[in-house]
Symmetry: C2
Subunit: 265 residues, 2 copies
């Protein structure tokens, strides 16, 4: 805020700069060659440095990859939060769709990071507390907020959702909610989990190329599934027949309206 030359002592600033350059270069190599082909010597070469000099900034190739992964998570969370913030607070389905589409757009635009994040087994044990875990929680939190606000608005009859749960499930879901500091009943958590599951399943299949090529550009199928999973949560007020172009909230926002302004990017 003030005008004094630099709050950080220049030395640190330079260090940050080259570290950023390293990450950026590594990211570029990652994007065009895939995670397996990322080589420290490669980024050193691209930067005009000796390979050994990199070790002043990065402990090993593995932690560099982990760092990039965490950055990817953060970028995704940012995109989701932006989509959520830009959405209409009164159009719950519309905002949910916006967030879901932002997630999809991010997955398609950042294919390699997506692989890095969701296609890799998390290292044993040392997950909780990691920056990766924190950023992942941030992403999931946005998805959940879409649902919880709908619940608060009375769109979801959590009672009948809770009814189908066994005591064990209820306890676990409650523990999960407590862990995240959210106050949703287990029925709501189950709905959130289902939505997350389906969203992730679709995007994972699509961006890994496992979806049949017959349905190219499955954007509308994605929209439909996302609408469906939301409508299922709201089934108390949206009866059985799935809403094709009709629903409880503003119809013009319901389906496939503006796929352009979704991503944070």
């Amino acid at each position: 805020m003030a005008a004094v030359s630099s709050p950080i002592p220049r030395r640190e600033r330079l260090r940050r700069a080259t570290l950023d350059e390293i990450k950026q270069t590594a990211h570029a190599q990652l994007a065009e060659l895939g995670p397996a082909a990322l080589s420290l010597r490669g980024v050193a070469r691209a930067m005009g440095m000796a390979p050994s000099a990199l070790y002043r900034y990065v402990a090993s190739r593995e932690v560099l990859l982990a760092e990039l992964t965490a950055d990817g998570f953060a970028s995704l969370a940012d995109a989701l939060e932006a989509a959520f913030a830009a959405g209409d607070p009164h159009d719950h389905l519309g905002r949910w769709l916006d967030v879901a589409r932002a997630h999809r757009r991010w997955a398609l635009d950042h294919a390699v990071e997506y692989t890095l994040i969701f296609g890799t087994r998390v290292p044993d044990g040392g997950f909780v507390g990691t920056r990766v875990a924190i950023e992942l929680q941030r992403s999931v939190a946005v998805l959940f907020r879409c649902m919880t606000e709908a619940i608060k608005a009375g769109l979801v009859d959590t009672g009948h959702l809770d009814a189908g749960l066994t005591p064990t499930m209820r306890a676990r879901l409650r523990a999960w909610a407590d862990d995240h500091g959210v106050t949703i009943d287990p029925g709501g958590m189950a709905v959130c989990l289902a939505a997350w599951t389906q969203l992730h399943g679709f995007l994972s299949l699509e961006s890994f190329g496992h979806l049949p090529p017959a349905l190219d550009d499955p954007a509308d199928l994605f929209d439909r599934q996302m609408t469906e999973v939301f409508a299922r949560a709201c089934s108390a007020i949206v009866p059985a027949g799935l809403p094709g172009a009709e629903g409880p909230t503003r119809p013009d926002r319901m389906v496939g309206s503006d796929p352009a302004r979704t991503g944070g990017r």
Copy 2:
């Protein structure tokens, strides 16, 4: 069957044997060290061979990995087909659950193959026609058969499902069905896709460790989601409220009855 010494000319037999040993050794190394750590020199060492000798059997490290991946796909498809065959043909929900559980069991038991299969971007373009593609189709076909037989049995009102589809979606789903030689209407295909999506999403999150640790052993949540996705398809006869321990088919088979005899293994 017969008594003649060997229908295949011995030379070929030996070749197959060592190739199998190579694959087996590679598989073992894969299972305990992860896909990134699979080294040709390593398997050569374990087999007491010179590294260069491996190249008589395997063109490169990459094609060996691809071969193992395809084997993994085949193993999964076998497990699913076995579960399907062992299921009660009249208890559609039960059989669907059996198949879904078999899939989950396989995913948890074969963690590394799962990563290899579903955590890796498929190579560009050259996917269709590959052995991988064929085996994947086999797996998906089992999942679909669960649904199509339920449709045939009149459990699903495909009419109201079809109603929610746009013409474009309908055309694409029909093209997909044609590609696979199955005769389901687009509505049914949409349901199948949703089921597959959700199943895969859950298993992917779980076996990659992205599911919150608060809900350890999420088997019952998995069962619930799988029941739910089936019930949603059958919503014509199972009205809005999700079946907790009640449903259209035999209740004792509905939920979490016998998780032991699921896998093909």
